[in-house]
Symmetry: C2
């Protein structure tokens, strides 16, 4: 695999230009380019330029409207609903997150319900946005079914990621963003290509049997992480992201998608909480005592640490040449 | 093991009488007896009469105040703080949950922060209270450290249970309540007694090595369920139950506990959300379509199903005679 160095600004410009070339207005293109830039900056390659061809497919098929203007509605002083009217999720987030932060700072807890959006990115930008303002963030979204509930052999849940961020004024926040599937299907496919086994419990073959053979799982279904307990978490994500927003469940997204290879329409639920209002004065020192205790334990890695370290490097990033050529071909 | 049949009313009365005999006033005794009655009714034996000796230890040592009167404070219209002033958690919940439901119905999302309580019971009574009113409930609490974060060999987290309930008007709600530890330490001890191995990943021996020997784990530490992803969930619980309430982290609870064998002082975070206000009209039918799809999949068991089935039996419950004698000895 040959690579090419691109500066972070060049990455952002490339992403923006390809979005504009495929029908996005400036607001949509910039919101998406910013998310792609941040993913590459932090070393989250699978959510960076790698996603551009999928975004373009969704624009070209007309499933996503690159000129959509999200609208914001206060359902109550603590419930903000942003309808993306068919945009990619980042623009709807850019509209809704400042309002969510403001409501959370005032009321102590608030929710941002995103509907009519197409989510194809990481979720940590949402929760980290809140943590950077001293707030706690919880975010989740559903996708198309690829994960069987514990005990079953048929896919019902999406990979259903859950992100959580806790602020540490003076330090980087603790932030995670994880699929509730045992493994991303992309990683299963890479293991199959490389001839590596995957751990038992990753998924089932087409006959519903446990297997360590990734090629067999690619023809079957994934399982949730952590058995029936992880399945319960995946169920919570499905219910919050679809039942609570009123948007499509994973199975509905599959039924109604045009199968262009881009992200289906769905919802996202983002919750903000204010430790300053709920725990009150002194919360930072109290929590920092716990954080110090945890970070000093041998073998512990704090969630988000690796991304925040990658971020310190302001230099160019090494990008797969084939991917750059593919993206240039979409301009 | 010989057993004796006790009616549900006799179970409630026995629990109430032993609490009163050990210094509880009527309000404290009734709240606790009600939680014990509900646990036995639903077949949650490990949270029923089995806990009574531990409750009594905490009363006799003076750690818990059986005459404490919880106070309620609205930190904002959506944030309710109940200080138990050293009571067992159920009375503080009885004071706070109706206020939480009311705030959630009005504002769409709200939080109940319990402080100064001693929690030794299941968490599903809290979330099911909300689901019975058409609301979604999320609850969590921390305990004393017995679980090592993923990658470490030293305990930092409690068994840190998380409960979630989703309302299904016309049906029983979907409700779960699970430790974020791989297994309760009590179950590890029972496996050791019975000479059964436990799954690899349950815990570490005293040298920090993975083992299937429960006796070795009893001398070492438990692990979170589901590897580093489950560890991230256990961390979220620790932060919400202690960092967000301002109450003790698990490690602080151990440091400050009088080691009487009863539950330490801690916090609990309970979040309510209203699908009627957030998703809006039609949410029941939308979610019921998903529930019907899920329940029809072979092999799926809906969380809470077994408890709700047990509940239909209004007859007497079979209780261990030794346990009854122990409790009678505490009268």
């Amino acid at each position: 695999m040959s690579i090419k160095e691109l500066s972070l600004e060049a990455i952002r410009d490339l992403a923006k230009n390809v979005m504009v070339a495929n029908g996005c207005d400036a607001a949509n293109a910039e919101a998406l380019a910013d998310i792609i830039y941040r993913a590459e900056r932090d070393g989250s390659h699978s959510h960076g330029l790698f996603r551009v061809p999928g975004y373009v497919k969704a624009l070209r098929s007309g499933k996503v409207d690159g000129k959509a203007k999200p609208t914001i509605k206060y359902l109550t002083p603590a419930i903000i609903q942003v309808d993306g009217h068919g945009c990619f999720a980042p623009l709807a987030q850019a509209v809704g997150l400042p309002a969510l932060a403001e409501a959370t700072e005032k009321i102590g807890i608030a929710a941002l319900s995103l509907i009519g959006v197409h989510h194809f990115a990481a979720l940590w930008p949402e929760t980290e946005f809140l943590a950077d303002r001293g707030l706690v963030g919880i975010a989740c979204t559903a996708y198309m079914p690829s994960v069987a509930p514990a005990g079953a052999t048929e896919a019902l849940f999406g990979t259903n990621p859950l992100s959580f961020a806790w602020p540490r004024p003076g330090h980087n926040p603790v932030v995670y963003d994880m699929a509730t599937a045992s493994m991303a299907m992309g990683d299963v496919q890479i293991a199959a290509r490389d001839g590596r086994d995957v751990p038992l419990g990753t998924g089932l073959d087409a006959d519903g049997k446990l297997t360590t053979d990734p090629a067999a799982i690619a023809k079957g279904v994934l399982l949730p992480f952590g058995g029936y307990k992880g399945s319960a978490i995946a169920l919570m994500v499905e219910l919050l992201a679809a039942g609570m927003t009123g948007e499509q469940f994973s199975f509905e997204a599959r039924e109604n998608d045009n199968k262009d290879g881009g992200p289906p329409r769905g919802g996202e639920m983002i919750i903000g909480m204010s430790p300053a209002l709920i725990a009150g004065d002194g919360w930072q020192d109290h929590v920092e005592g716990f954080m110090q205790k945890m970070t000093k334990i041998d073998g512990v890695r704090m969630p988000g640490e690796r991304r925040h370290k990658n971020r310190l490097d302001k230099g160019p990033r090494q990008i797969n040449v084939e991917l750059i050529e593919t993206i240039n071909g979409l301009l």
